[in-house]
Symmetry: C2
Subunit: 306 residues, 2 copies
């Protein structure tokens, strides 16, 4: 017996479509919502690509599940239809406070009063959104990573108002859909992963900006000393130079200097990281394909409009 | 033709003896200096253990080199004898500014005026020591990591007074003794590795101290997201809880809270990390042996008196 019977996924952007597919692939009935026909069409295109990707899995049973996953997803741009049967809503609409609040205000009256809502927000706190859902006790954050099929972590983060039973239920749900739940006990901006990544990346970019060493040398140091497969500048290429730029512009003066460096030397040259074949490093075409199949590290495209 | 003909290693503590052995193993004549007969005896014991360790290598030629390495090391507590033929001194005496300066003051008049000196200091800057060597242009830092046979990085860091030709020569020397040179272009406290490690470890310990998540969950997050073999609390166990404690006590209030946690919950219970079989995690005896054979991450024992 599964935790939920019918899951609505709101927003079929890069990550929203991955979530919808993964949930359907795991055997749940899904309604996939986005704002209009164009957004739905783009979402459907992404879902079809995901089906093709999952259909290359080695286990014949997995391939069969992948081929039939789309049959369990009903796409609609009518919010009432999407919400009608849902006992869980996963919200993956664009990363904008007012936009998300507005979405919740519209959703609340259309949704069963017993239904739970989780937000996939990366940069906001669930407590910023709880009130607008009209059911703060039935609301928390469930944060996925881009390329969900390899980076199958789901950070679970509640507010002080969240029902503890719902927290446990969402942890179980995360497992049911093949995720490794990362349980946070309190709200934390950036969850666990970005709270660890950001200071590490900033230390690396500061060393570079202060002229202490080059990216290659900094990456080599980390790999050799810790046995990790990638150093910080390789991680910048994975998460994407656009995301690195956005994070750096919000930092201190050294970080802003780094943001300028990224803009002038990489972004303005069309070097976006692995996704474009070049960032701090150059990636031959074949390697990019292999990396994309394996999946990139983080939710670089999390904020793409749905 | 090798860069140097005769290398003096000053201080035969945990890391000094590893350096002396590795240099001799790489074909250099070595004079190993320490302050008295007791220190020399302890050093000789360490060197014999290293010979036994290196003698387990799979390549018969490596085993042969290991067996004969000690023959190239002359041990003495007479500074004049140790310095007589040296054209390079690697200083690995205890990590104390006055003690190191005092050593250099005594060494300078006994050493050929053309000989170079490198310091293995972890926490001082070479510019703190340059004057006391009497030859600031022939002095820089060459920083090794504990368990040199697996963690074969050597951070090369000069002062503004160091002769650039000597810098290049030391980079070549590092390669001659089987190290991967990590080249720093300017002085940086903590070199590259600790400059990356410390903010990352502090981010992790802050998350723990603030009650956001447990060590296991934080480590899991890092491993799953980056593919690294170890998360930050596993790294604490590798570098040793004593070192973690020493670093934390120098930090902000959250870090001092973490230091208190380490003292009460680990140090006072004899839990020193992998070396004692338990730290944040428990390590069965066999695993400790395997890890010690593979080598720990960092120079936890760098500061042990020689």
């Amino acid at each position: 017996m599964q935790t939920f019977a019918h899951v609505m996924v709101a927003g079929l952007g890069v990550l929203g479509s991955q979530i919808a597919f993964q949930v359907a692939y795991s055997g749940f009935e899904v309604s996939g919502y986005d704002v209009d026909a164009n957004a739905l069409e783009a979402g459907l295109h992404r879902l079809a690509q995901l089906r093709d990707r999952y259909s290359r899995r080695s286990d014949p049973a997995d391939r069969k599940r992948a081929e039939h996953a789309l049959e369990r997803i009903e796409l609609t741009s009518d919010l009432a239809t999407a919400a009608r049967d849902a006992d869980l809503v996963i919200e993956a609409v664009p990363e904008n406070l007012e936009l998300k609040r507005d979405f919740y205000h519209k959703l609340a009256p259309l949704l069963s009063s017993t239904a739970a809502i989780v937000t996939n927000t990366s940069t906001l706190l669930p407590s910023d959104l709880a009130e607008s859902t009209g059911r703060p006790d039935k609301f928390l954050a469930l944060h996925f990573a881009n390329h969900i099929w390899v980076h199958n972590t789901a950070e679970v983060m509640a507010t002080t108002e969240t029902d503890p039973d719902l927290y446990r239920k969402i942890v179980t749900f995360a497992q049911e859909i093949g995720m490794v739940p990362i349980e946070l006990k309190k709200e934390q901006p950036g969850y666990l992963l970005n709270s660890l990544l950001v200071p590490w990346l900033q230390a690396a970019s500061s060393l570079f900006m202060q002229g202490i060493a080059d990216p290659e040398m900094i990456d080599l140091t980390w790999r050799k000393a810790t046995g990790a497969p990638t150093g910080p500048f390789q991680v910048f290429d994975v998460i994407g130079i656009r995301t690195a730029y956005a994070v750096s512009t919000a930092g201190d003066s050294t970080q802003q200097e780094f943001a300028n460096y990224l803009k002038t030397n990489l972004l303005d040259q069309g070097k976006l990281g692995i996704e474009s074949g070049e960032g701090f490093y150059h990636y031959p075409h074949q390697q990019v394909r292999k990396i994309n199949d394996a999946g990139a590290l983080e939710d670089a495209n999390d904020h793409a409009p749905s």
